[in-house]
């Protein structure tokens, strides 16, 4: 996920500028350090030295040199900066070839809507590897900031119709870590998301699968429970409400609640199988993400297990 290992052209351009600045700045630091060390050693006061050094007022030639050289260095730096500022500000929101994504940040989750494809998902941004991804970002509550370190720099999500746009490309398939970069409340540090880059055919299959109707649990009791307790807020396929994270295909996502990583070989505290993670999350959301709006629903252990079973089974073929 590091910015130092860019995985797409936008992050690469930014990394290039970073390398240029680091190079120039290391040069400056080395020169200053060298002079400083030389001066400190060469002109240290020897014991008993009572002499008065020459009281030099200044030296115009030297002073001009260390004014002009920084100016030249800044021009070297300033030109590509300005070029890149305008380059990265290109607006692809009207481009039919770009994949349009509306990002809405919430305390503490991410909503991804594909307006042209009629699909909405949460926590996991699915994108193809062969197109420009055009982002329109806003927030539903407080300020957040949308950041995928290895793919592109961040953009703040502002409230009140103040929509920010950015774009990036991800030519290499794989899973990338995304983060919230603006203090947004107690669970700011836990507001991670994933970016899953797949090839075009998989992406198309995923879009189709997202639109397929999803069957409710076979057990009528669990279905009833799900309807009453979960679907009042969450959507699964065509069922349920839109206010909170869409759960369609949650079984094949990389994480639960953006922070509990799904894996069959758990290594760290925040890892587990999909089902274990779902149980952990539903049992006590506040323990996983302090301040989350997800309430601790009044369910028995068996009910939580049954719902988690069902949700873990919601997998998409793509």
């Amino acid at each position: 996920m590091s910015t130092l290992r860019p995985q797409g052209p936008v992050a690469e351009e930014q990394f290039g500028l970073m390398k240029l600045t680091i190079l120039i700045m290391v040069l400056v630091v080395v020169i200053v350090f060298a002079i400083a060390v030389y001066v400190i050693i060469r002109f240290r006061r020897r014991p008993g030295d009572k002499s008065i050094p020459a009281q030099v007022e200044g030296n115009h030639k030297l002073e001009i040199i260390w004014t002009v050289i920084p100016i030249i260095l800044l021009i070297i730096l300033g030109v590509p900066t300005v070029k890149s500022v305008f380059g990265l500000a290109k607006d692809y929101t009207k481009d039919p070839n770009a994949v349009q994504v509306k990002v809405t940040a919430h305390q503490y989750w991410w909503e991804f809507e594909y307006p042209n494809l009629g699909v909405k998902t949460a926590q996991e941004l699915m994108i193809p590897n062969d197109a420009i991804i055009s982002i329109e970002a806003k927030t539903a509550d407080v300020l957040h900031s949308f950041w995928i370190p290895s793919l592109a720099g961040k953009i703040d999500t502002n409230p009140g119709g103040n929509v920010n746009v950015m774009y990036f490309e991800a030519p290499k398939t794989g899973v990338y870590l995304g983060k919230c970069a603006e203090l947004c409340g107690p669970s700011h540090s836990l507001m991670d998301f994933k970016v899953k880059v797949v090839d075009r055919a998989s992406f198309d299959r995923w879009v189709a699968a997202m639109k397929n109707p999803v069957a409710l649990p076979a057990d009528a009791e669990v279905a009833e429970l799900l309807n009453k307790q979960c679907l009042s807020c969450h959507a699964i396929g065509g069922n349920g409400g839109p206010a909170f994270p869409n759960l369609t295909g949650i079984g094949s996502r990389e994480s639960v609640a953006g922070i509990l990583m799904n894996t069959d070989q758990p290594q760290y505290k925040n890892e587990g199988t999909v089902k274990d993670n779902l149980i952990k999350w539903i049992e006590d959301p506040q323990a996983v993400k302090p301040g989350t709006l997800m309430p601790k629903v009044d369910l028995t252990k068996e009910q939580i297990e049954a719902i988690s079973d069902y949700l873990a089974g919601l997998k998409l073929e793509y």
Binding site: V29, E57, S150, G153, N158, P159, Y268
Partner: protein
Amino acid sequence: MAHGHAVKRYSGLMDWLTTVDHKKIGILYLLAGGFFFLVGGLEALLIRIQLWKPLNDFVAAHTFNELLTMHGTTMIFLAAMPMIFALMNAIVPLQIGARDVAFPFVNAIGFWTFFAGGVLLNVSWFAGGAPDAGWTAYAPLSTPTYSTTHGLDYYVIGLQIAGIGTLVGGINFLVTIINMRAPGMSFMRMPMFTWTSFITSALILFAFPALAVGLAAMMFDRLFSGNFFEPTNGGNAVLWEHIFWIFGHPEVYILILPAFGVISEVISTFSRKRLFGYSSMVFATVLIGFLGFMVWAHHMFTTGLGPVANALFSIATMLIAVPTGIKIFNWLFTMWGGSIRFTTANLFAIGFVPTFVMGGVTGVMLAAAPADFQYHDSYFVVAHFHYVIVGGLILGVFAGLFYWWPKMFGRMLDETLGKFCFWTFYIGFHLTFFVQHFLGLMGMPRRVWTYLDGLGFNNLNLISTIGAILMGIGTIAFLLNVVITALKPKNASNDPWEDGRTLEWTISSPAPEYNFLQTPLVRGYDAFWKEKMEGKKAMVPAEPIGPIHMPSPSILPFVMSVGLFIAGLGFMYAKGDYGTGIWASILNNHILAIFGLAITLGCMFLRSVYDDHGFHIEPDELHGDKGVKA
């Protein structure tokens, strides 16, 4: 001869509560600033302990946000600012040959309002929760919708009261430096520390009103349901960002410029050499102050201001590197050819130069907007501003304290313990913050309560925590040094470093109440050095010995700030539900708030109608000092 009229003289605690003497106010600023520095440092240590390993739960998530908010707010407003004011108060009047500041009474108000605001802010810890929206308090997180405790109320009102103190302090120093210089001290003969204090005061004059307006607007939002920054009711959250940073960026230069001044004085003194390129130094200071107002949006590159704004603010920000570079090379060439003595003060000053360069170059890196999209709000930024503020300002303050301690207290700080303090603090500092550059580049956002395992953050965070503990040890060594020194006899000579160049070293340590028995005549830059080089031991006086006019002490400044403190609490708690008892009628009807304001306004009225012309110290009372006949 007796006094013309009776003079109230206090002793003990009352002396300190009523003093209008700039030297005593300087000590008060130092005590209060030092105390808040320890509080902020403790908060920093708790933050670092929480982050020493991944997924730690040493403190709760919301407590962590309170800690980081209070750490930033405390360090900037309640530790760094007052320590700067401590040095300015203690030294600037002495450097320009003045007997006090222009408005001694206002000076006392400045201190006491700052102190009342600072205490009020910290009361929040014990009153249901500290502010938790970051020291920047970005809306909407800071609006009543998302922040339902009183924490942010303490923030807006505490800072508003403390801000009054800073603003009047800044105005006071502007007037003092313009009007009260000794005969012959033209602007271009002023010591560098006085120059930087002057520019800092000018920046305060223009920057703090912006903060006052922003805080007032936010106060209306919070207390009276105003909608300046509440987007759901047509307010604008980005507006707060602008207002905050229009104040916030100059604030950075308000803090660092006096440190530049200290470094200039210390390096020049201990190199036994005139400051290299004095006039370019002055020019660079003015230019930094000027440019400092035109770069605020570089804190907002990711806000979405558009490419034109981003490009302009990028370039403007980079330009600041030029005058800063001039200063760095001037310091290096002041040492060049000199005879450098490594006192603790000078170690801090020399240590400052490369450290500040590193903070400066990362500043230029951040100025490149597209790259900033990656750096912004990551630990890279945390590393950068700690290099500038701790590596710049705090090292400068330490240098200044070791350098001027004898002038403030009449005793020299212990050098051995001082050097131990320097090395632990300095090494600890670099351990803590150097690795944070890499954490940021690797993708660790700032203000995070915890981080996941397996991302490669673990070791660097551990190193950072160890460094923070070392800095803590360094700070304890300094405190120990202060205590040990306080137990020693007052024996510092007028010019204890023997290479003093400026006017403060011509008078006794600590300076007498009236500073200068006779106002000195200044005949050039580095006035005292010039006299010494011509074989003289003292300054040529510019006036005969005569009665010295002194301002009267007064308790009013203290009472005024107590009034503001009470009013602040009254406003904050006016909206709560207290049932029907006596508290409900007092609080809900704003009676407590009005009572507090009445105290303050009453004091202002008293001050206006009661003429206090001060008193005179007659020549025959000036015992101990041998005057030179003019």
